[in-house]
């Protein structure tokens, strides 16, 4: 598919210390809203920048819907947990938009410990003609007031304000890795390494723990939760992925008994007890045990491929439901897999993202790259999936034609309205002119976060501290 390069984020930092500036500007999450009109990015410095798509104008048809900065605000600040003597990073781990119901926009942003609901609203009018004060704000001399007037709303320059409407805190002992808004638009889940908590958007002092995989003895810990997401249509269904490479699909409605440490087995034997109990100060519990039915998606391991790093590369870094709700996509270090929700024993499709790295796992372990958590994303029609790689490469896989393409997000290759050239990594033997060899890959340039417009072929790709937005070429 041919793509066109469009906007580039300007690094707004003027700090003199280059290293600090770069560190805080590293983009840690990107997310389109449900209409695709807005694009939010979060960075390591705790800031959120929201871009808005320009209305298409007839006078300048070539500037079709560019994204420009709409609002910038500081979502999270660094904190210090005095009890545990731990610093809490302000890095934004995830942003999730709420579907728009009114004029204002709402999004949830989270760092390691706290989720916040932000309201982004526009103000383009202000009242003028007060009685007791004049336009500068100075108090008028009461003796000069001879008549009363009603203040009138006058247009003003557009101002976009972001206010924190809710703060959901003190519910997570471990680091929050994901949040997901329910399709009922009333609840959301926040997930840390061992627990998933269910919140009501209106209530901040109470959450319900619906998954807890913490063993009684922490020394027996073998897996952690790496991501969780609600089903896009079924408000009672959510999935969570583990570091062992399995995904569990949970139904919050039914009651059943289980053993939390069961291995894969048919659905009838495979249920989980999950508690519903209020955490934090003084909240009363529901008094009943809410239990869930679980489905475990796991591919049996091939013993011939076992190595030092088998566990690390099988750890799932991201899980995403398809828009139609029939499939699940998971990303582990080397592959992307598409699962059919009806079939638990093996994935429907497996795509190799950068299999040439399989022989380099040892060096990737030494330079910490093997711990990188790549995300994956569906396009609007669920026909194409996309994920990032190293050297600022990102890959797209067409599920229907089985074709795939590797593209690069870099300043040199991305002049406005330039067409992206497919890239290729040479895995051995003779290297052709345009190919790049595995050893020349720059592992410090990684694309971990990408997002796809919900309806159109517009993608946003975060490459360290730069944001690239690519659109499909339309004649």
């Amino acid at each position: 598919m041919e793509e066109e390069s469009d906007t580039r984020k300007i690094n707004n930092s003027f700090l003199r210390d280059h290293n600090y500036a770069t560190e805080a500007d590293i983009i840690s999450t990107v997310e389109f809203n449900s209409s695709g009109e807005l694009l939010a990015t979060g960075d390591k410095g705790g800031r959120v920048v929201v871009f808005q798509r320009e209305q298409e104008s007839k006078s300048q048809p070539q500037r079709r819907g560019e994204y420009n900065v709409y609002s910038t605000f500081q979502s999270h600040e660094p904190e210090f947990d005095y009890l545990k003597s731990l610093e809490i990073e302000e890095k934004i781990n995830k942003i999730k938009w709420l579907p728009q119901q009114h004029a204002a926009y709402f999004l949830l942003s989270t760092n390691d410990k706290t989720v916040k609901l932000w309201k982004i609203s526009e103000r383009d009018k202000r009242p003028e003609g007060y009685n007791l004060k004049d336009e500068d704000g100075r108090i008028r001399n009461p003796l000069t007031i001879t008549s009363l007037r009603v203040p009138v709303l006058q247009p003003m320059d557009l101002m976009v304000e972001a206010t924190a409407r809710r703060v959901f805190s003190n519910a997570h002992t471990y680091h929050i890795n994901s949040i997901s808004v329910n399709s009922d638009l009333q609840t959301f889940i926040s997930t840390d390494d061992l627990r998933v908590n269910l919140w009501n958007l209106e209530i901040t002092d109470r959450s319900f723990n619906i998954v807890d995989i913490k063993p009684a003895n922490m020394e027996e810990l073998t897996e952690v939760i790496t991501s969780a997401e609600f089903h896009p249509q079924q408000c009672h269904t959510f999935a969570y992925s583990s570091s062992k490479g399995s995904i569990r699909l949970c139904d919050m409605r039914q009651a059943a008994l289980c053993d939390k440490h069961c291995k894969y087995s048919p659905l009838a034997d495979h249920r989980a007890i999950l508690q519903a109990s209020a955490e934090q100060e003084g909240g009363e519990g529901w008094g009943c045990e809410e239990e869930e039915v679980e489905k475990d998606f796991e591919e049996p391991e091939d013993p011939s491929t076992r190595s030092f790093f088998s566990e690390i590369i099988s750890s799932i870094s991201d899980v995403k439901f398809s828009h139609n709700g029939r499939y699940l996509m998971t990303r582990d270090y080397l592959t992307v897999k598409v699962w059919d929700l009806q079939m638990e024993n093996k994935p429907l499709e497996t795509y190799q993202v950068h299999d040439y790295l399989r022989g380099k796992l040892c060096s990737l372990y030494e330079n910490d790259c093997i711990f990188d958590k790549f995300e994956c994303v569906w396009n609007g029609s669920d026909s194409v999936i996309m994920t990032g790689s190293y050297n600022n490469f990102f890959r797209m896989f067409d599920r229907n034609t089985k074709r795939d393409v590797t593209l690069e997000a870099s300043r040199e290759n991305s002049k406005p309205r330039a067409i992206l050239k497919p890239r290729k990594v040479c895995v051995g033997g003779k290297r052709r002119k345009d190919e790049i060899s595995v050893d020349s890959l720059d592992f410090s340039k990684k694309i971990l976060h990408t997002t796809w417009h919900p309806h159109e072929n517009i993608i946003a790709v975060a490459a360290t501290n730069n944001l690239y937005i690519f659109q499909d070429k339309v004649n």
Partner: protein, 186 residues
């Protein structure tokens, strides 16, 4: 497995162990505190490396000095004990990097290092024992250090172990050295 590849694997495993230990150290000073997932993955790699190291040592043949075989087992396992010390204040304890010494009257428990912790591991073919002891940070006394008792693997015979050969050889100094640095740090 030939002797040379066994040696290569051996060296590789030791190197990975050393790298893992330094990563574990670095993660303690990281901003944001210990990451549970990362610590868990590190401990899994260390366990894999240790297991592969042992199996490659076995391939080198039993004529290779058994005492030196004990040394890396002990140092790496007690190393794990060290790094697995749960800190009472921190509610994010280091996972899974723990080992207990088995009572010496049960030498035939596993084909791998007999005093390492159970956490479920696909490579294990025989059942392991649960950790019964909880190592507190408070215990500064070296009672958690493994004693230099020779432990028999199943199928192996006890050889006369000359005095002094239990000391770590040059090749083992890596893991032994790390152990010495670990203790004062805690």
């Amino acid at each position: 497995m030939s002797a040379t590849t066994a040696m290569e694997v051996n060296a590789e495993a030791r190197r990975i162990l050393a790298v893992s230990i330094s990563k574990l150290y670095a993660s303690r000073t990281q901003r944001g505190g210990l990451r549970l997932h990362r610590s868990l993955l590190l401990s899994m790699v260390m366990r894999s490396a240790r297991d592969i190291y042992h199996s490659s040592r076995e391939c080198e043949g039993p004529s290779d000095a058994q005492p030196t075989q004990e040394e890396p087992m002990d140092t790496s396992s007690s190393l794990e004990e060290q790094t697995g010390l749960p800190e009472p204040v921190q509610p994010e304890p280091q996972p899974a990097l723990n080992s207990t010494e088995l009572p010496p009257e049960e030498p035939d428990s596993a084909e791998e290092d007999s005093d390492s912790e159970i956490t479920e591991d696909k490579e294990n073919l025989s059942p392991r024992r649960q950790s019964r002891k909880r190592r507190g940070k408070v215990s500064a006394a070296p009672d958690f250090l493994p004693s230099k008792r020779a432990r028999l693997e199943p199928g192996e015979e006890r050889y006369a172990a000359p005095l002094g050969s239990c000391r770590a050889g040059a090749g083992e100094s890596l893991t032994a050295l790390s152990l010495n640095r670990v203790i004062p740090a805690f």
